[in-house]
């Protein structure tokens, strides 16, 4: 009797010590998340945030450490993105930054990440090279990869000349530069370069100029519902050629706004958007289904956009890399951040919802051609193109 009491006491003491050791040893891994939850690109930021929350639901612990998510809104303003990144790094001592919707904001955060030596996992294309990208990776396919898939499709379809209309911002510039590069090597002539602002209410002038150049196909370097404008204007003016878009367009609201004018629109996207149409041996098939399930559990709705999946992929990259960080390192320290960065850049063949990621130092991009599929909008549904 006595011994059993002593045993209980010993066990509880051991447990208590064990707990203390555990709670002292396993500090939480802090993830700072920045997204445009308001402002003109909130149509990307809101799904981004939903995707990251689904990620938290999917994997909230790695190597015995809890992952803590701290979320801030940058109101679609790059200077706020940078300020928030500093706030997260200096005040909250986050170990890794995730963000943000919109290329300019992500580039601003990448500069802060490099300066403060904090890893950044972004989900928009980053145009960084060499030393600049020492602390930043992205789960998004680089624009050049997406656009070259589009140009390849154009070449197969016999397109000889293409007109371009895009946003008058860095996304529009990036898409145009990629088109120019791929088209040149494919022998396709770029005959027009027109721009408009996301908030514009008419592109009649720009579309007229494109029509005057009589291109076989038109590519829109746009994103979200504001991207519907050129297709509506082209349809109104009776344009009969092929229409292409970028992966920024793939969301249900775009389909709703563009309506019949975007019938036959061809766009590149990640495999997750057509997960149920993928062949069974596609690397993204399984994880995409798991993402859908996690999203369904968190938000009680089916994911219908590509942005939530990019953010979910960022979460997978972090969870995968954190599992490979030496357990003796403590989150919240410079050593941990450096080790996490090294682990992220050592990511090999990680199957994510948008294909497969392989990171290596010197480039922020991890996606390859397995991350791109071409889809066609047919009666409001995206159909996988062979």
């Amino acid at each position: 009797m006595k011994s059993s009491t002593m045993n209980t006491a010993a066990i509880s003491f051991a447990l208590a010590v064990g707990f203390m050791a555990n709670s002292a040893g396993a500090a939480d891994l802090k993830v700072g998340f920045i997204a445009p939850l308001s402002g003109p690109i909130s149509s990307q930021g809101i799904p981004n945030a939903k995707g990251i929350q689904a990620g938290l639901k999917y994997k909230a612990e790695v190597g015995g450490r809890k992952i803590v998510l701290i979320q801030l809104d940058d109101a679609s303003d790059p200077s706020t993105s940078a300020r928030n990144a500093r706030k997260l790094i200096e005040d909250e001592k986050v170990d890794v930054i995730v963000g943000t919707g919109g290329v300019p904001g992500s580039m601003a955060i990448a500069a802060v990440a490099r300066e403060t030596k904090t890893p950044l996992v972004s989900f928009t294309p980053l145009t960084l090279a060499g030393d600049e990208s020492a602390w930043a990776v992205t789960t998004a396919q680089p624009a050049s990869l997406m656009i070259s898939a589009v140009v390849e499709h154009m070449k197969r379809a016999g397109v000889k000349s293409v007109g371009y209309i895009g946003f008058s911002d860095s996304w529009g510039d990036l898409a145009y530069a990629s088109l120019k590069k791929s088209a040149e090597s494919a022998g396709i002539k770029v005959v027009a370069d027109e721009r408009y602002a996301r908030s514009d209410n008419s592109v009649a002038g720009q579309v007229l100029k494109i029509l005057a150049a009589k291109p076989d196909a038109v590519l829109g370097g746009t994103a979200g519902t504001p991207g519907a404008l050129p297709y509506l204007a082209l349809a109104e003016r009776g344009y009969k050629g092929m229409i292409y878009g970028t992966h920024g367009l793939i969301n249900p609201d775009f389909v709703r706004v563009a309506g019949a004018s975007a019938q036959g629109l061809l766009a590149p996207t990640g495999p997750v958007m057509v997960a149920d149409q993928l062949p069974a041996n596609h690397p993204s098939k399984k994880i995409a289904a798991e993402f859908r399930a996690a999203y369904q559990q968190t938000h009680n709705a089916v994911p219908t956009d590509a942005f939530s999946a990019y953010a979910f992929d960022a979460w997978l990259v972090i969870a995968n890399a954190a599992a490979r960080v030496a357990p003796k390192l403590e989150p919240g320290t410079a050593e941990y951040r450096a080790a996490l960065r090294d682990a992220i850049f050592a990511t090999k063949e990680l199957a994510v919802t948008h294909g497969v990621l392989n990171f290596s130092p010197g480039s922020p991009n991890g996606a390859d051609s397995r991350s791109v599929v071409i889809v066609k909008l047919d009666k409001g549904q995206w159909v996988l193109q062979p």
């Binding site: 909130s42 149509s43 930021g45 908030s199 209410n201 008419s202 592109v203 002038g205 007229l208």
Partner: protein
């Protein structure tokens, strides 16, 4: 540029000019009567468009909740001010006007929503929902500071814009909406060139509304009271025109105009929760051309802004807005050169 391109651009420019014209009229009307540059004007237009889209999607537009909340706030504000004045006999009337009337519109909207409505009914209800917004927010936020300086009023109105556009994001979400065209088809002129019926409707409505405004100002007592207040607030008060009443009327008219803009524009452009600001700003350029007082000059300015915008988008899409807003600089220089500086300062102090 060929002639047919110029023609298409002109038509496009005149169509957006018609919208800026209506918005410019609303801005000038509110400014001349109340000295408020009514920045939330565009937001009301966007809300109307998005309400109509919600009706079309057979949903209850969130505007119902906005108007309902504003009505409660306005009724409470009115009752408190009456209690302070110990004027208890007017409380029932105030509650009826400020609370129950907008409430009735909300109830109507709520009852007809979520079913397959004829387009006409959906449009009427959307506009009816829009009309109380400006008077109600003015009652809650602007009337208590009606005698402050024009700068304070401008800042208050800017704050209202940010408040409304923030609420718009919560209500309608970040994505835009488009409504069904009111008129299909078009008129075909020359080879391969046609004007869509919707554009003709926009221009026609703007013209008809201008004539109606002119008649109302020239022929009705209420219109004359508005003009009198605009010309001289103190003088208007001396002859028995109540500034609060005329301000309310001006806000009501502006809200109605904003509602009509929302209905006219939403079939041709995608409307977002924050699309209103840019329409308001371009109309503001037009209103500045009109010196924030002259209706005919504002109309000319609005059409000029529309045309300039359309041609600028052809020359350089990226610099379109820069070109349009740069128009302000020469206009302001010319106006300040010719303006006779009035005794504006003294007018602001005593009232």
């Amino acid at each position: 540029m060929t002639w047919d391109v110029a023609l298409i651009l002109s038509i496009d420019g005149l169509a957006s000019g018609a919208i800026y014209l209506l918005a410019g009229l609303g801005l000038v009307l509110v400014f001349s009567v109340t000295r408020v540059i009514f920045v939330p004007f565009g937001d009301i237009a966007a809300f109307t468009a998005l309400s109509l889209a919600a009706f079309e999607a057979q949903k209850v537009p969130p505007t119902v909740g906005l108007v309902g909340t504003l009505a409660v706030l306005a009724a409470v504000a009115e009752v408190i001010s009456l209690v302070r004045k110990r004027d208890f006999s007017r409380i029932p009337a105030a509650v009826a006007w400020w609370g129950l009337l907008p409430g009735a519109i909300c109830l109507l909207a709520w009852l007809v929503a979520a079913r397959d409505l004829p387009v006409g009914v959906a449009i009427c209800v959307s506009v009816m929902l829009a009309v109380p917004i400006a008077p109600l927010i003015a009652r809650v936020a602007l009337q208590p500071i009606a005698d402050a300086s024009a700068l304070v009023l401008l800042i208050a109105s800017l704050v209202l814009h940010f408040l409304l556009s923030g609420l718009g994001l919560v209500f309608f979400g970040p994505e835009g909406a488009r409504t069904q065209p009111l008129l299909a088809g078009g008129i075909s002129i020359a080879n391969g060139f046609s004007i869509s019926a919707q554009v003709i409707l926009m221009m026609g409505s703007a013209a008809v509304l201008c004539v109606l405004f002119f008649l109302a100002f020239e022929r009705t007592v209420a219109g004359k009271a508005l003009r009198a207040t605009a010309v001289n607030r103190v003088g208007a008060r001396l002859v028995g025109i109540r500034p609060t009443r005329t301000a309310l009327l001006a806000y009501g008219c502006a809200s109605l105009l904003a509602g009509l803009i929302g209905i006219l524009i939403s079939p041709v452009t995608t409307m977002y929760y924050d699309s209103g600001l840019i329409i308001g700003l371009k109309a503001f350029v037009a209103a500045i051309i009109g010196g924030l007082s002259s209706y005919p000059l504002t109309a000319v300015g609005a059409l000029a802004v529309g045309l300039l915008e359309s041609f600028a988008s052809f020359w350089s899409g990226a610099l379109k807005d820069v070109i349009v807003f740069s128009l302000l600089i020469p206009v302001l220089m010319l106006r300040s050169h010719w303006a006779t500086h009035s005794e504006e300062e003294t007018e602001e102090i005593d009232q």
